[in-house]
């Protein structure tokens, strides 16, 4: 359903994303990994319309979305969270989710029904009246997911939602993500916690210096020489 063809992004002379192509099938969970600065978040920013492409094309369900403004892409069914959380700090959790819900429900009571549904799904009821800024990071990340879900996305991009969480919180969030996927929403996850992504994703894409260096099942990717090099250094495999 999501298709990238030769997607390239340059900042100044630097090529942050270099001719990346892949297709994400409907209903799948895909992991996107790679070392620091390999261009993962940049790729998300390109897909969600925050950045403009230098060249290439991105399409969602056959419709070209590259270089459309972010709010249009969101309306077409693509939602995301942010690596560094971007909460609407001075309004309540409820209103944060409401912002997302209004995208397809112009009527307030319909939008509110959607909010209740999402809040129930993610078990956020206790916090709905709280101001965003008073929440701990784990909850902020969860509200970001809730906000994104309220837009009724076909595909959800999660950018390091597990970062900075303790093991219990991580386990809980893993379950939530599977639950969301079970409702038919396609998911792409950027994650550094390898254990998480290996257990969560059915397919893994590996970026290194903006280039897609591996694409396959978690097991395959782990054994991939290029991936190990990218992560651990050039000589690691040789000495083994």
């Amino acid at each position: 359903m999501l298709r990238l063809q030769n997607v390239t992004k340059e900042f100044g002379g630097l090529r942050a994303v270099d001719h990346v192509s892949f297709t994400i099938p409907k209903g799948s969970i895909t992991g996107l990994i790679g070392p620091n600065g390999s261009g993962k978040t940049t790729l998300f920013n390109l897909i969600s319309g925050i950045y403009k492409l230098t060249s290439g094309e991105i399409s969602l369900d056959g419709q070209v979305i590259s270089n459309k403004p972010a709010f249009r892409i969101a309306a077409m069914g693509l939602a995301r969270t942010f690596q560094v959380v971007k909460p609407f700090n001075n309004i309540s959790v409820y209103e944060n989710v409401l912002v997302g819900a209004y995208i397809h429900h112009h009527n307030k009571s319909l939008a509110e029904a959607k909010v209740s549904e999402v809040i129930k799904l993610l078990d956020l009821g206790k916090y709905s009246g709280y101001q965003m800024k008073s929440l701990p990071l784990a909850m902020k990340k969860k509200v970001e997911i809730a906000r994104a879900l309220a837009t009724d996305p076909k595909i959800l991009l999660l950018d390091e939602v597990m970062g900075g969480l303790n093991p219990q919180e991580t386990d809980f969030l893993l379950k939530e993500i599977r639950k969301i996927n079970a409702t038919g929403i396609t998911i792409i996850v950027i994650e550094h916690k390898m254990k998480c992504i290996m257990s969560l994703a059915e397919r893994i894409l590996v970026l290194d210096s903006g280039v897609l260096i591996a694409d396959g099942l978690p097991r395959e990717v782990c054994g991939n020489v290029g991936v190990i090099k990218a992560y651990l250094g050039d000589d690691f495999c040789v000495e083994d």
Binding site: P35, P136, G164, P167, M194, C196, S209, I228, D234, E239
Partner: protein, 234 residues
């Protein structure tokens, strides 16, 4: 030389590192490895004083420096070469180097240090009046290391010195690190190039989700299965 006891810290309301203990002995290279977002940069920024420790103490050369400003730590010889070089892009190379010896403690030795780093990196002398922002990645890294050496470091913290460099340059960077060690500078090396970092290290720490999960000599860790698991989750 550096003793860290029970350090916790983070940004805003979110805690990133938890109860860290670490000890760095005079004249050694200590490596700190761990995956992205494990809290390595947070830890060294707490050591440098850019972030306030929430609890615990940092002791440097027998003195408790937990409450000192970053500048006061620089005066005592605790120098960090930050991740991504962080040169001053609109200053020339020479101006960047001079900024390295900003601290009053080392200004007297400024010319001597300048000669030394120019000797170490002749390329910097060639381009001395060029703006730092116009250098290539490798040259920037040399300049950043040179800038730190200008401060007569007693403990040099290097954050991801090989990040984004071509393989040939990475080899060069590690050679330089060994050279610096030979000059008697103690080094704390933060690297994602685990192999290289561990080969070089007298001692190493593995940081996972803000906690130290493994520690030992570099060679011991190289042979550790758990390390591979931590990185690839196999």
């Amino acid at each position: 030389m550096l003793k860290i006891k029970q350090i916790s810290s983070g940004y805003g309301e979110s805690q990133i590192i938890f109860d860290i203990h670490m000890q760095i002995d005079q004249g050694t290279i200590v490596s700190l490895v761990g995956s992205n977002a494990a809290g390595k940069t947070t830890l060294i920024n707490t050591i440098s004083g850019l972030i306030k420790a929430w609890s615990g103490t940092v002791e440097f050369l027998g003195e408790d420096i937990t409450a000192l400003s970053p500048a006061a730590r620089v005066d005592r010889g605790l120098i960090q070469t930050p991740e991504g070089r962080r040169l001053f892009p609109d200053l020339t190379i020479k101006e960047n180097l001079l900024m390295g010896s900003y601290s009053k403690v080392v200004r007297a030795k400024r010319q001597e240090n300048l000669d030394y780093v120019y000797h170490l990196f002749p390329k910097l002398l060639e381009r001395t009046s060029q703006l730092a922002g116009s250098l290539s990645g490798g040259e920037q890294q040399m300049c950043a290391v040179a800038r730190s050496l200008m401060a007569c470091p007693k403990l040099l913290i290097l954050d991801e010195p090989s990040l984004g460099l071509a393989p040939i340059l990475i080899v060069k960077v590690f050679e330089i690190i060994e050279d610096i060690k030979k000059k008697g500078v103690t080094i704390l090396l933060v690297e994602q190039n685990v192999q290289k970092a561990l080969c070089l290290a007298d001692k190493a720490y593995v940081l996972e989700s803000g906690r130290i999960t493994l520690e030992g000599t570099g060679q011991a860790l190289l042979k550790n299965d758990q390390l591979q698991k931590a990185y690839l989750g196999i």
